[in-house]
């Protein structure tokens, strides 16, 4: 049984309203769980004082791993002793976040026994998050998780848990098998995921098409975004159907094409596929009539991140098009080369995007053995401060006489 029921007038306000309430969730857990009950108490305090009451831990974890556990301690342990430790476990989610009720129930049983009974489905990176437990519970949770076939995800300067959209499982636009690649990369980099060996974190995110449902371009060090090279597949009669049922094809579809590569004469839609930039708009607007082409693969972009330390970055093109065939050797060779160069020369807390900014994309490409191509830039440089590496020298007298 939990300790005394807490008075939480501020949090109670957040039980009202139609959107599902996290306060209700904490209260349900608090009926049986003293940790959840003290969380409620400490959170109410934060709401009164307008500040958080957590301290960051840096040492706790399971034996042998450097990732997967986030240490957390209350700064009010006397008042809220049951959250004096309140560590998080990141559990590597199944690719695409598919579950069976059976697996979820077993996960819940573990967490009922060993933790607060509170979770995040899911954390920002994609892991299933067990929210809040004591140091001595970490090993038992880990043992039971691995018995169930689950493992911890990444944290710290390691390969973070890769994540992806649902891809071919439920989407006709998936240009490659995002779930297969995610599973493969997760397994291939188990050591790098659990044992931090990099200057800072490394994230892989896999989106099946340029709609990028997992925001790969904004937050992955390597963003793998599905695309195609040939013609958009078109069903003329389905286009006509859309027109008949009220879609203004000229205005809503053709008018929004960024490449201006479409024409509509009221009967037939024409696409200049050579000029199409694969933005997805027309396909999104008429999913029954249009589809990505058949020559499908992915574009690999590199270097995005949130602001800390040197400012936010979006990923930029590294490999314009790649076809994926298991065992994905072309990809892993590339990643290995990048990891080597970045590990050797990256500074502490320097994401690969910031590393590229510091050393220059040209130098980076040279180091990893990738040829510079115009697809990599929005435009060539504007400033004339070129660090020329090649120049002519006067032939010496000796050379002339030779």
């Amino acid at each position: 049984m939990a300790d005394k029921k807490r008075s939480t007038p501020k949090l109670d306000e957040l039980e009202k309203g139609e959107w599902p309430s996290f306060v209700k969730e904490i209260k349900i857990a608090a009926e049986k769980n003293p940790m959840a009950n003290d969380l409620l108490g400490q959170l109410e305090r934060s709401y009164e004082e307008k500040i958080g009451h957590w301290k960051h831990g840096g040492i706790v974890g399971v034996l042998g791993y450097g990732g997967g556990v986030i240490g957390r301690y209350s700064d009010l342990p006397e008042e809220f002793p049951n959250v004096s430790h309140f560590h998080t476990l990141r559990i590597n989610q199944p690719a695409g976040w598919f579950y069976t009720s059976d697996a979820l129930r077993k996960l819940c049983d573990i967490w009922e026994k060993h933790g607060s009974g509170l979770t995040n489905m899911h954390g920002s990176t994609g892991d299933l998050v067990f929210l809040g437990t004591r140091t001595e519970e970490l090993e038992p949770v880990f043992r039971e998780l691995t018995e169930l076939g689950f493992d911890l995800g990444g944290s710290g300067s390691d390969v973070r848990t890769p994540s992806c959209c649902c891809g071919m499982a439920r989407c006709e636009w998936a240009c490659y098998d995002t779930m297969a690649l995610t599973y493969f990369l997760t397994m291939h980099y188990q050591d790098e995921l659990h044992r931090p060996a990099f200057p800072y974190k490394w994230k892989f995110k896999m989106s099946g098409c340029p709609n990028d449902c997992v925001a790969a371009v904004a937050r992955a060090d390597m963003s793998i975004i599905g695309t195609w090279r040939d013609d958009i597949q078109m069903n003329d009669s389905a286009v006509t159907e859309y027109a008949k049922s009220g879609t203004d094809i000229q205005k809503d579809v053709v008018g929004n094409c960024p490449a201006k590569c479409m024409e509509w004469d009221g009967k037939k839609l024409k696409i200049d596929n050579r000029a199409c930039v694969k933005c997805m708009h027309c396909i999104n607007a008429m999913p029954k009539a249009l589809a990505p082409g058949k020559d499908r693969g992915a574009c690999i972009l590199i270097g995005s991140k949130a602001p800390i330390v040197e400012g936010a970055l979006l990923s930029s093109v590294l490999i314009p098009f790649i076809k994926f065939v298991p065992p994905y050797k072309e990809l892993t060779d590339l990643v290995e080369k990048i990891h080597e160069v970045w590990s050797e020369n990256g500074k502490n807390r320097e994401r690969v995007g910031e590393f590229i900014q510091r050393v220059g994309m040209g130098n980076f490409l040279e180091a990893i053995g990738v040829e510079p191509i115009p697809e990599m830039v929005a435009h060539p440089r504007e400033n004339p401060y070129v660090f020329y590496e090649e120049y002519f020298e006067e032939e010496s007298e000796d050379d002339k006489n030779a």
Partner: protein, 362 residues
């Protein structure tokens, strides 16, 4: 002598279970063979395969922070309606995967009874991606779940209906570290600290290693110093950008400041390539106070942005695309947000963000 039971070998590096274990038969049979999908009504979608197999998805809101009791309730619904199969989305919604169209209505009824509205598809506002806030984070400048709950209570009709010109993606991060990578959202709600860490001189010597604190600072704002004969640190205030890295290393460098912490609002970012290229969100409102439990200033600011955009944008035009068409002066005019000094960038390459043409509207 009793036989000693060998300790079971400790399993490590097994990775997640293979996803195939969790796919319903209809997905296994039609994996990679889907032909098209159609949103039938808010929160309900059918995906049709080449062989005309039909998979119905019902999407419901979730607060992300879930009790095991609620997860068990989801599991019961999955058993009742979908042979035990369900999934979660990248925006923390829960999705039930049905093969029998006639079961959709009863499922929606059950979900609503459980307190989980159905919606978030098509031209709507899907769940707000967010971070931990005061529930679990040491560097949070605001709560996350409470702000999200307050904002979504206000915007719920845009989740349960599809009456917006385009999708609208809202995200919240409770400090600059942006665990939620909110920097490319139509509307980003960002917790901000505005004062550098306060050094607790009585504790720093016992709680922290001075060299680690110094080296933790990415901008070299923390310097070693001996104060009254005791080793400590000093903070060069103008170099601090409030990342809380020093506080991560050293609990005696508290950054939280009830008076000065608050929220900023950013607009016009996107990650999708549809029509326009991905773009960052830009600063709209530099500071709103933390006003728990309901953050009325934040909810009304977000509601205003949504409504002004919804009223004026063209079909398919995301927030950033709309602003790019009408221009920033008109954006500030239409939303009634005052433009201030801090709206003008002063970090690296700030000049690229200045207006460098005479293309103006009058």
């Amino acid at each position: 002598m009793p036989e000693v039971q060998p300790k079971p070998k400790r399993k490590t590096d097994i990775g997640p279970p293979h996803y195939e274990n969790f796919l319903p038969p209809i997905i296994k049979e039609n994996y990679g063979k889907w032909k098209y999908h159609e949103i039938l009504r808010p929160g309900v979608m059918v995906t049709v395969s080449e062989t005309d197999a039909r998979l119905y998805t019902v999407r419901a809101a979730s607060p992300r922070l879930l009790s095991i009791d609620k997860i068990r309730a989801y599991a019961d619904l999955a058993d009742k309606y979908c042979r035990g199969y369900l999934r979660f989305t990248s925006r923390n919604n829960v999705e039930f995967l049905l093969t029998d169209e006639s079961r959709i209505d009863p499922l929606i009824k059950d979900l609503q009874a459980l307190g989980h509205p159905v919606g978030g598809m098509g031209n709507s506002i899907s769940s707000i991606v967010h971070t931990q806030g005061w529930v679990h984070c040491h560097s949070a400048a605001t709560d996350a779940s409470g702000v999200v709950k307050s904002v979504m209570d206000e915007l719920i009709e845009y989740f349960t209906e599809m009456k917006l010109p385009a999708k609208l993606r809202i995200a919240l991060a409770c400090c600059l570290n942006m665990c939620g990578a909110v920097h490319c959202s139509d509307i980003a709600i960002l917790g901000i600290h505005r004062r550098p860490p306060k050094v607790d001189r009585s504790k720093i010597k016992v709680m922290c290693e001075i060299p680690s604190v110094v080296s933790a600072c990415p901008t070299a704002a923390v310097k070693p110093a001996t104060i009254d004969g005791v080793p400590s640190v000093e903070v060069i205030e103008e170099r601090c950008m409030f990342c809380a890295n020093c506080y991560t290393v050293c609990p005696a460098m508290k950054l939280n400041d009830a008076l000065n912490d608050g929220i900023s609002i950013w607009v016009g970012g996107k990650v999708s390539n549809a029509r326009s290229e991905p773009m960052f969100s830009k600063l709209a409102i530099p500071f709103l106070p933390n006003n728990p439990p309901r953050w009325p200033e934040v909810t009304s600011a977000v509601l205003n942005l949504v409504e002004v955009w919804a009223k004026n944008a063209r079909k398919y035009e995301r927030m950033g695309e709309w602003i790019n068409r009408i221009g920033w002066p008109r954006f500030f005019e239409m939303t009634g947000i005052p433009f201030e000094k801090v709206h003008i960038d002063d970090f690296k390459h700030a000049g690229l963000t200045f207006k460098r043409s005479a293309h103006l509207t009058y």
